[in-house]
Amino acid sequence: MTINMKLNEFTIKEVVKGLEEKRFSSLDVTKDCLNSIKKQEKDLNAFITVTEELVLKQAKESDSRRAKGGTLSTLDGVPVAIKDNMAVKDFPTTAGSKILEDFVPSYDAFVVQKLKESGAVIIGKTNMDEFAMGSSTESSHFGSTKNPHDLERVPGGSSGGSAVAVAADEAICALGSDTGGSIRQPASFCGVVGFKPTYGAVSRNGLFAMASSLDQIGPITKTVEDAEILFENICDYDKKDSTSNEKGIETVGKNNGNIDLKNLKVGVLKDGFGDGVEDGVKKNVVETVERLKKEGAIVEEIDIEVLKYALAVYYVLMPVEVSSNLGRYDGIKYGYSVEKEKDIEIKNLLDVYSKSRTKGFGAEAKRRIILGAYASSAGYIDQYYLQAKKVAVKIRQEFDKIFENYDVIISPTAPTTAFKLGEKSDPLSMYLGDIFTVPANIAGLPSISIPCGKVDGLPVGLQITGQRWEDKKVLSIARAIEKVISGQE
């Protein structure tokens, strides 16, 4: 912490300390964040909605709670940005789609409720690929978000807005959602920390569903320690999400302790350094692995044969679930409806459905809805969907075997650094970039991306993945590795 640092550049830990020591107020931190947003948004477009009065009101309330000695939690007064697919009461929540452009939820998502209960200041709603479908934030109806390290490059996605908000100090921390890498890959591209918890650790009630068997909410922060603080605040049982796992959540708290890198058993994915991985990315990750060996970690190459099918599994299961989940947007109950358009002829109810969906969804959403309908239709469901489900079980079983012998698995987060806007116009080439992140979603594993140096000025991410419900262990190992990496730079 240097003297000249603005408050918006602080970590959660630093903000909490400053607030406790009364060196500054929540309003000070919040105003610095808002100023940073005002200054940079024209270039970055990280936010879809920032409602200044609502934000300032929250900060003032936090300060008055503190003045009376009644803070709600350590997070009280800390500005948090929320990905725009999580419902925040009275804040427009769009999921990056035209179909929800004017949607204002009448309730808070579970995670938002948790943050409000802890006194956090919700600073705004961040940009994202439409319904979280994409790896570049380019499919947002509200325009692309730009990477603060190079404005001609994408921030990654789909939680690109959240990653940029944190990387460009527009917020102290943020929440994202991760279905196939949507927290970790943008964190990697933007040089921040992104953590996808174990499936079932964080309730998705109020998260606009994309692929329900894979979706998970998690933190995007400046440090691993911050990720842990935010994670602890949102990891709680919720009966409104039937996959919220009460027993699992209980065990998360118990798997803690400081991890010693000495004798840590690390598996390194053989394919993590194969073809398709950029040389610079490879070099940075290999260097870190070498450093871990010097610290006494036992590093071994592992080869999970069935992982070469992970992407194929993902690109069957995900669109099938998308196709079903996005069925709810029909122009009747909420969201965009052609009924409001005067110059469109509507004959009957079917017309309302079809025309509202046709006008409301972007190209990527349409493509995935149709693909999903195909892969789950009679005649193809065995060949595609059910086969993919079974291969997913096999992937999970293989990981279970690996974690009998290893503490964590390390790989690059993404095979490349941030690519240029418009560079990946072919959907399949975009999809292939998810190769290292998707397996953790398929197997429900906790997985974190931490910054691992730069190549030509662009951040590289290192991914650390652990066994289900060993979130705390993954976080403490990540913290130890973060320390090693910062010593390296």
Partner: protein, 94 residues
């Protein structure tokens, strides 16, 4: 394996989307290339793999009503057409 125009049209109808000629052409190519990529799933031997009972099973709520803290008016405010506290829809048949 490119999808035929008829196949794309049928699928679009099922998922309630109207596609332009250009979209039909583009999607059929793009979807075909994704399908040919996922084709390799067929190589995996999945004999003996059961899909039921993987870690979590169905959780049923009690068949009991609970008060909702959101008012009817609030819930309906996002609906495009309402009447007397109901959501209004177009006629099903012409």
């Amino acid at each position: 394996m490119k999808l035929s125009k008829e196949q794309i049209e049928k699928l679009a109808g099922l998922v309630r989307l109207e596609l332009s000629e250009e979209e039909k052409e583009r999607f059929s190519g793009e979807i075909a290339s994704i399908l040919s990529y996922v084709e390799k799933l067929g190589e995996v031997d999945v004999k003996g793999i059961e899909l039921d009972g993987v870690e979590i099973s169905n959780i049923y709520g009690k068949d009991k009503s609970e008060p909702c803290e959101i008012s009817q008016a609030e819930l309906l405010k996002n609906a495009p057409m309402t009447e007397d506290g109901f959501i209004k829809v177009k006629s099903v048949l012409e």
